[in-house]
Symmetry: C2
Subunit: 246 residues, 2 copies
């Protein structure tokens, strides 16, 4: 991990850009974080729109988390931003758009091609980022994962024992294979669902919540459309991480 720039944001939050091999990323640490008092880390997931486009929302989440004493970090997803495209995912996205425009049902093969290659490539990258981030003296465990493509969160929750709690956003397509993986998740989960998100299959989201193997899981469903998560739901997610990571 190489830091390529750093700046201090208003509230004393230190923002550092880094590269991890070819992968760009951000790390935000609260002013309180130090080698003697490392800040617990939340990995900030995000959709496949690229870090540049997502930056305003990511930095807002980072500021809130820093106010609660958390370090946060994120990396660019495979095929997004300036990273090489993933041909199979691009093709699936084209097929998806065509199906939606034609009013046809979205077939399993489209969802699989859209999500599974992304999960397969992204998850080991987030694990490498975790190795590098946890080697910093001012960043510590336990680690949370928050938001973004829900299938990446599911896979990470299954394969990465350093992740102790996950806040997931039921807002993207989920391949059938991920339901089986969901049964293997045992860490505490806080799942956000936008009830009136027309682009989202609500029943699939409810089935997925039901499938999670975790003894402690909370579904928090609200109105406001895909991007209209209310402030109170953000607060509830923040309280979830404070309960489990502090």
């Amino acid at each position: 991990m190489h830091f390529t720039s750093e700046q201090r944001l208003d509230e004393g939050v230190l923002e550092r850009e880094f590269t991890l091999g070819e992968i760009p990323g951000f790390l935000w640490t609260p002013a309180s974080a130090s080698a003697s008092a490392p800040a617990p880390l939340i990995l900030l997931g995000h959709p496949t729109l690229g870090l540049g486009k997502m930056y305003p929302r990511l930095v807002a989440r980072a500021r809130h988390a820093a106010a609660d004493g958390f370090a946060t970090a994120t990396i660019e997803l495979p095929g997004s931003g300036d990273r090489p495209r993933l041909a199979v995912v691009d093709q699936a996205r084209t097929d998806l758009r065509r199906a939606l425009q034609a009013g046809e049902p979205v077939g399993d093969e489209i969802i699989d091609a859209l999500i599974l290659p992304l999960v397969d490539q992204a998850v080991p990258e987030w694990q490498s980022a975790l190795d590098a981030l946890l080697s910093l003296p001012e960043v510590g465990g336990p680690v949370g994962y928050s938001g973004g493509v829900i299938s990446i969160g599911i896979r990470l929750a299954v394969v990465e024992p350093r992740i102790a709690a996950a806040g997931l956003f039921a807002g993207s397509f989920v391949p059938r294979a991920m339901f089986e993986e969901a049964r293997q998740v045992t860490i505490p989960l806080h799942v956000l669902l936008q009830w009136d998100d027309e682009g989202n299959d609500r029943q699939a989201a409810l089935d997925l919540f039901d499938a999670f193997g975790s003894e402690e899981k909370c579904l928090n469903a609200n109105m406001g459309g895909h991007t209209g998560v209310p402030q109170s739901a953000g607060d509830a997610a923040a309280q979830f991480f404070t309960r489990h990571l502090k």
Copy 2:
């Protein structure tokens, strides 16, 4: 309303028993409540087990609410505790038990007979209690309704304009007719659902949440069985009332 006894609980909360005609009830007010600073009121709903049996849980809710600055009050339900039985409801309860023991589906006519007479009689009583409670100088509006038989909460939310927000517990049978009333509810709602409550029809609870006409509604679903609502869900409900009543 006649006060029949009063005692001060440890935290300075004043507990008063009262009768409203033949109906017994409780009022709890925080030490801070006064004529110059009346406490906003939350009506505490409860199941049909009788106030005596429910007292420990009710007083725990009252103490928490008082710590947040709320007055709380509750009255005995028709047919419960020492009040005259409701023959039609008792018969429906017998029919319900028989159906459940036989593993038969619970018919609409049983649910209607179990719930609708209770709602019809209870709701005007809660409104009379509200008249009396709001006439006290140390109790003020806006008013919330919390928990208990969900159909009573729905009807109150529709017919009683003084109720500004409701926290409902999706844990009891709901007659089909109440789904129509749910569409007429427009106040902010916070709905608790115990996801693994075997005695509850989860799909009916989700359909009911969908039916509510409120622009602001939140579903908070957790594990732990019918009586195992986690502390975090109680905290979230308390925050909901603080957001809307203060």
